[in-house]
């Protein structure tokens, strides 16, 4: 009986030690193993191909906005509150950057291309700042671009056949080679957003 018990104990001990080894290996793998989404390996989603039209009616592609760090926001001109505020705030940031503003591409993409023609985009973005590029074009192209970049937008019907757009609120910061770098949000305050832009220019 004692023999049986000690054999059982020995077996249990072996199993427990085996578990310890497995746990240690697992912890080691987590700590030192490969990282699928390390910062340096972020996919260059902003280098994925697209074809849109800028506010002067010229065809543009992803290549037009690579080579410099860039700042992207998504909105629409039938937006009385969030979008104009974002554009006005961006203009204030560019003003504060001074000549360094030229080191950035700043792009406002319409998520409502059916209503936002290039002419409308031109008057709209240039009212705020002519350093901001306005993009619109084919809805399918905008949708593909948004999907590639994990940007959400959707039509929200209203009474009387009108509609509004729900869309990504934060501004996306992108490196010169098209990798996601960070975001700007209104609630962060001017100085924080400014510091993020300076860091983007410095490292992007």
């Amino acid at each position: 009986m004692t023999g049986k018990a000690s054999t059982g104990m020995r077996k249990l001990r072996i199993v427990l030690w085996a578990l310890v080894v497995v746990a240690a290996a697992g912890a080691g793998f987590l700590a030192y193993g490969p990282r699928p989404t390390g910062v340096s390996e972020v996919e260059a989603i902003y280098a994925k191909p697209f074809q849109l039209v800028n506010q002067d009616g010229a065809a543009v592609t992803e290549a037009n906005f690579l080579g410099k760090p860039s700042v992207w926001f998504y909105g629409f001109t039938h937006c009385p509150d969030v979008c104009p505020t974002a554009l006005a705030e961006m203009s204030a940031l560019l003003e504060e950057l001074g000549p360094d503003a030229d080191k950035l591409n700043v792009v406002f993409v319409s998520v409502d291309p059916e209503r936002d023609t290039p002419e409308i985009m031109k008057e709209y973005v240039e009212y705020f700042d002519d350093r901001i590029t306005g993009l619109t074009g084919d809805l399918a192209q905008v949708s593909t671009m948004a999907k590639d970049r994990y940007i959400f937008f959707e039509k929200e019907p209203m009474e009387g056949g009108d509609y509004l757009m729900g869309h990504q609120a934060s501004i996306q910061l992108v490196t010169a080679d098209g990798r996601f770098f960070g975001t700007l949000a209104t609630e962060e305050g001017f100085d924080t957003r400014m510091a993020k832009l300076r860091r983007l220019i410095g490292q992007g």
Binding site: V82, F128, Q168, A169, T186, G189
Partner: protein
């Protein structure tokens, strides 16, 4: 503290310069304003502060203006990083003794399809419709957009 007082003083200057208000019974309507928008903007954002000095709750039910195809009361909300606008289907309540602003928490009046371009310095006549006080004629002053968030947002961003 000194900085704070200076800030208050600076904040007070434009308020004094533009003071304009409207009264109807116990409802005191302060400084209706519209932010200037790009030349072809199909919508304008309007803001106003309402004091209810009465003993019963009041409700702003809607706004009408001959200068726009229609005026809707909305609230911009950001949920999980997505900005949306929702109609204020039941208007905006102003509890007895309270002050509430269109401009608080992303609320605003949306002037849809204005009849022409309105620039800073222009005035937009409108009627505010209250549940108890009824219609009140007001004038929205069109003002330069500030680089900061919409008016009355300051106290809510902290």
């Amino acid at each position: 503290m000194q900085k704070f007082i200076l800030g208050l003083a600076i904040a007070a200057i434009p308020a004094l310069a533009q003071a304009h208000d409207f009264t109807s019974g116990s409802i005191f309507i302060e400084h209706p304003m519209i932010q200037e928008a790009p030349p072809n903007a199909p919508v304008l954002g309007g803001y106003v502060t309402i004091h209810n000095n009465g003993d019963v709750p009041e409700r702003l039910m809607g706004i009408e203006s001959k200068t726009a195809e229609k005026v809707e009361l909305h609230q911009s909300v950001v949920t999980d990083g997505i900005a949306r606008m929702e109609p204020l289907a039941e208007g905006m309540e102003i509890p007895a003794g309270a002050t509430v602003s269109l401009g608080d928490d992303g609320t605003h009046a949306m002037f849809i399809k204005p009849d022409r371009r309105y620039q800073a310095g222009d005035e937009v006549a409108a009627t505010l419709f209250f549940e108890n006080a009824g219609p009140v004629e007001v004038v929205f002053n069109v003002e330069q957009r500030s680089a900061e968030a919409a008016p009355n947002h300051e106290g809510h961003s902290q």
